[in-house]
């Protein structure tokens, strides 16, 4: 990802988000209700575990033969009358789309909600040509009008409540306050009137894709509102930008993913709209179809044994909804299109900015994400591996003997734990060294990085006798008794 406007690093953004009470309440409400529903929707399926295994297996097989399936996809799309473009990175993808839009001469583009085009900042790239890209997913539209990035993969405006949305609409749609209440139906109605006009006039639509079927060349978008379908059917030209990992071999494979995805993401048995299109058909729908296949770090991730599993992700956002960190700080704190647990492992791999090295630390490794992931990505293990890389990178870039106090402490501990003699010496030293901070048997106001602990928590002082000393004493006593 090339991104000139990298936002605040996590350690600065997260505490700010924590202080935002409104955000915290919205997040807690939405995530807790979707958690419960997801749990209900998945537990009613007797073969849920088998489906997860199948989803994982299909993705693994596809990724292991990615070149083959992508070429097959290219051939099928071309045979169906579409044109396939290959983009090495974000810039190349943006250039391709800009050229295609320019050729049509239009200034307005309607967009289907798409993470991939957010990832490459396509809207900003189009704006450089004076082209306005209107997001047609209601929540995406809301964050677009607020000039904010989305904060949730699936519910981009999860951080906004009704009255905030009403204020945005009044301004953007130029309405009188008497014309709009904060009733959800009224808000949706206002957005609908605004969007209808765009659907009927737009010449070009841009979409992402949830899946692409290699053997038929069929693209698939899964959504809730039907606005995506408006975009994929009404305009003359449809441009789809898709990460190369989204391909699946056959139609049959969709049987698995179209069960896994809606239950995991919106906690629905089936999502309201599933659109498929295969090339172009005369007199029906867009007459020109372009598919842009985006690499942008994916093939590098694929080559990396430890990171590879990340590419199985179907962007369902279940891992966000169950993540206790995400629930507390929301998506913006991650400073990436991909927030939450998946973002914490994907962003360092795809974008790899310096500050992304701290994202894998935004987790307690509680494993809630792994437990729900429909394609069984072992996120905690990948987080640990990404942390290892962060440490290596920071050391390589630092000329100091330690990169931080925590780094120094851990290095010291690694040496101290090497032999039992050193370990026991360190144990005694800690027992003596704690004295300045012990108040009535409790450790208070600890120094250095430990202050983070003692700011909010007590800690009982280190007791006089370690277990090993107790054991030895008992052993000696037993020997004497004998």
């Amino acid at each position: 990802m090339s991104d000139a406007r990298i936002p605040l690093p996590f350690h600065e953004a997260a505490p700010r988000a924590l202080d935002d009470g409104q955000l915290r309440r919205n997040l807690a409400n939405v995530t807790s209700s979707i958690r419960e529903k997801r749990a209900a929707m998945t537990s009613e399926m007797p073969d849920w575990e088998a489906l997860r295994d199948a989803g994982k297996a299909i993705k693994e097989h596809t990724l292991a033969n990615l070149g083959h399936y992508l070429e097959q996809l290219e051939a099928s799309v071309t045979a169906a009358g579409g044109t396939v473009h290959w983009a090495r990175d974000a810039d190349e993808a943006n250039r391709i789309v800009r050229d295609l839009v320019r050729e049509t001469g239009t200034r307005d583009v309607v967009k289907v909600k798409s993470m991939t085009t957010d990832e490459i900042h396509l809207n900003e790239a189009l704006a450089e040509d004076g082209v306005t890209a209107i997001e047609t997913d209601l929540a995406e539209l809301i964050v677009q009008l607020a000039h904010e990035p989305s904060s949730h993969i699936l519910v981009p405006a999860i951080h906004k409540n009704r009255s905030e949305i009403r204020a945005l609409f009044l301004e953007a749609f130029d309405l009188d306050p008497s014309e709009l209440s904060d009733d959800p139906a009224a808000l949706a109605g206002a957005a609908r009137r605004f969007l209808r006009e765009r659907f009927l006039t737009a010449k070009v639509a841009v979409s992402g894709a949830n899946f692409a079927v290699a053997d038929t060349g069929t693209l698939c978008v899964v959504e809730s509102e039907g606005n995506g379908r408006m975009c994929t059917t009404l305009p003359d030209t449809l441009i789809t930008v898709m990460g190369i990992e989204k391909v699946v071999p056959t139609w049959r494979d969709l049987e698995v993913f179209l069960q896994l995805l809606p239950r995991s993401s919106t906690a629905e048995r089936m999502n309201p709209y599933t659109s498929f299109w295969t090339g172009v058909r005369e007199g029906d729908g867009p007459q020109t179809f372009h598919l842009v296949l985006l690499d942008a770090g994916r093939s590098a991730t694929l080559r990396d044994e430890a990171g590879r599993d990340t590419l199985r992700c179907i962007r369902c956002s279940a891992c966000l909804n169950v993540c206790p960190i995400y629930e507390r700080v929301g998506g913006h704190a991650y400073g990436s299109v991909y927030p939450g647990p998946i973002g914490a492992i994907l962003t360092p791999q795809l974008r790899g900015a310096k500050q992304d090295g701290e994202l894998p630390y935004a987790s307690t490794l509680c494993g809630a994400c792994y437990e729900v992931c429909p394609v069984k990505i072992d996120i905690p293990s990948i987080l640990v591996e990404m942390r290892r890389r962060t440490v290596h990178k920071e050391r390589a870039e630092s000329r100091l003997p330690a990169t931080s106090l925590i780094d120094a402490a851990l290095r010291g501990a690694a040496v101290a734990f090497a032999t039992p003699r050193r370990y026991e010496a360190a144990q005694r030293l800690a027992r003596i060294g704690q004295a300045p901070w012990v108040r009535k048997g409790v450790l208070k106001n600890l120094p250095g990085p430990l202050a983070g602990w003692s700011d909010a928590r007590d800690l009982r002082a280190i007791p006089k006798q370690a277990f090993r000393d107790w054991w030895r004493e008992r052993d000696e006593k037993q020997e004497m008794d004998a």
Partner: protein, 247 residues
Amino acid sequence: MPRASLFVPCYIDTLFPEAAIAMTRVLERVGVDLDFPRSQTCCGQMHVNTGYADDVDHLVRNFLNVFEHAEHVVAPSASCVATVRHMYPDMAKRSGDPALIEAVDAFTPRVKEFSEYLVDDLGITDVGASFPHSVAYHPACHATRLLGVGDRPLQLLRNVAGIRLKDMPRANECCGFGGTFAVKNAEISAAMLADKVADVIHAGAEVVVASDNSCLMHIAGGLQRQRTAVRTLHLAEVLASQEGVPA
């Protein structure tokens, strides 16, 4: 007579010896012949989970040497057992040393968390304990999600005489400790802890019990700071408790 070697993680050895002592008492009471290899130090969990796995390769080798001849290795910490069972194989693989890989693969299945050892290996769910108090059980993340101990600790608790188990809302949610997370992302950790403390209080129990002192240390830290009357005990301490010998 079953035999087992005690693996007492460094932080329990140093900070919470009472949990390991309790585990010793319970296991001896049910007839296990125990030894404690004194040359053990630390499994390296904190290092591995913070990204310092490459600094503690020697701890993996130490661990194997220390417990090489153990029939079973039992520990009062799910997260340290998870480190050995889940992280050591990765570390061995990265070392590229075939002998180490083989040794780790052969050895790690013998390392058990306390409740796993009792229920699976000894087939015991009633250890003859008595604990006439109300208890809320906190299912530690690494115990439930990484090791999959399931309801083994609860099976053991249900057979404790006089115990009153209380339901805790959102029991499965992480307490926010996460090792170095609690200092690296101290604010988020504190926010999670605040919610956990509220849930603990909501449960209305006298004692919070878990199978890991790390979560308990965190939860206790919050309970104490807020001057609540709820105390924390390791599962082993409750199981060690008997009439006349309370925890």
